[in-house]
Amino acid sequence: MIIATNVSKEFGKFSALTDVSFTCSKGECIALIGPNGSGKTTLIKSILGMAVCNQGFITFNGHNIKHDCNYRNQIGYMPQIGRYPDNMTIRQLFSMMKDIRQRWTNRLDVELVEKFGLVPLMHKRMRTLSGGTRQKVSAALAFMFTPEVLILDEPTAGLDPLSAEILKEKIATVHQQGKLVLITSHILSELDELVTQVIYMQEGRLLFHKTISQLREDTGQLKLSKAIASVMRKETAI
């Protein structure tokens, strides 16, 4: 569904992504893992077209994303830090997003809006919301338009345990519906039950892309966190 070919991205002299290639297909749940500053968010932004890659190209369902913006209808994106216009209320924000995307999807999924208890907060302005509530708004927006692909950047960071659990359940449900889910997270233990594949990045390079069972086999560890830790140790040893 998403194919990246030799994608490179430089910010001035600093190269954030070097020659990254991968393929993701429907029904997969992929974890993007790597140390801080390894280019995970840049990769996600390149897929969304927010960062324009210097070299290489990304295709979505066979179309180069550079020439067509409509592929973003099929993506629900939850940013690492949700930043919204300060003066907008949650209701206005939702209605604006509906305006932008409504003509593409008729089915709205408001399950998260209800479960996160956002309904009584609808009249509040974005600037008055706490970081966690903003995260909830981001998550609710990402799932609202029943997209085929979900891209979640640190989805549970800043959420309380109960909300994080609700979100994880939601991710599991959409994954079972056969949608493609891309997650970055530092909390590896919570990815254990969700992901089917792992992409590991370091210093802007993609080091490996494996299924989770293969990773377990290669490292001899059952838990994802231990497996990744052993990979990282090996990397630093080299």
Binding site: F11, K45, L48, G49, M50, A51, V52, C69, N70, Y71, R72, N73, I75, Y77, P79, R83, Y84, P85, D86, N87, M88, Q92, M96, M97, D99, I100, R101, W104
Partner: protein, 255 residues
């Protein structure tokens, strides 16, 4: 596109600074017309104020607004919308709301007190300057990532267009005082939209008789129909060139 323009306009018109700007313009024009018996004199004062305040407010407000909507832009870019369209929507939103405020503050009093062709020209020039300086502000904001730097550049641009440029022209005039520089002066004035507006309106007033030989040359150009058409065409260029450049830059910007 219309919907995003709508959101931008609603957002700006609720802004307190916009309300203050409208009230300031309204007070200035009302008091000038009320104090002066001679409407032509009142308009000359109004012209001088418009030529200074309109570029300043349009530049600064637009630059700050664009930097403050960085989040909004980020949000829109991740949605199925064309980048050029997003940027133009912000541009149209700014143009609509600032022009509306200007019409309220200057257009309305002019309509009541002084309904002449020259006054209409003053309002038209003010509108043009508003749009031009929004376009320039958008170009500055898209080129410079840092907010403080961007605002600084906006202030410098304003000083350049309202003060420095005239100083430079004066300097050139003195340097080449022995040569016939009147005709090149017409061409040089095209490089500053504020000057184009000023000359166009001054020449329609009686005060232009005080400008001597240069005034006569200017009148030969700006006073004719073709001269006015060319000046307005140049003003249009001042809108399109910065606007198009900023759209091109925004299309390849990383957010």
């Amino acid at each position: 596109m219309r919907k995003i323009v709508k959101y931008v306009v609603i957002d700006i018109l609720r802004n307190r600074i916009m309300i203050a700007y409208a009230i300031l313009l309204l007070l200035l024009s009302l008091s000038l017309y009320a104090l002066e018996d001679n409407t032509a004199k009142a308009m000359l004062d109004l012209l001088n104020i418009v030529l200074i305040i309109v570029p300043l407010v349009s530049l600064l407000f637009s630059v700050i607004y664009i930097y403050n909507s960085a989040e909004f832009l980020e949000l829109l870019v991740s949605q199925p919308l064309k980048r050029g369209m997003i940027w133009l929507s912000i541009f149209y939103g700014l143009v609509l709301s600032l022009c509306l405020t200007f019409l309220l503050g200057v257009g309305l009093p002019v309509l009541f007190f002084d309904l002449s062709a020259t006054a209409a020209m003053l309002v038209l020039t003010g509108l043009f300057l508003t749009v031009i300086f929004i376009a320039i502000a958008m170009l500055a904001a898209v080129k410079v990532r840092d907010k403080a730097k961007g605002i600084g550049i906006a202030i410098l641009l304003w000083i350049y267009f309202t003060v420095l440029f005239d100083g430079l022209v004066l300097f050139l005039l003195f340097q080449f005082a022995d040569y016939p520089v009147e005709k090149p002066m017409v061409a040089i004035s095209m490089f500053n939209p504020v000057d184009i507006g000023r000359i166009m309106i001054l020449l329609r007033m009686d005060e232009s008789a005080l400008m001597g030989y240069t005034g006569a040359i200017f009148r030969n150009f700006f006073g004719t129909g073709t001269g006015v058409v060319i000046s307005f065409f140049v003003l249009l260029l001042w809108v399109f060139i910065p606007a198009m450049l900023s759209v091109r830059k925004f299309k390849n910007k990383d957010l």
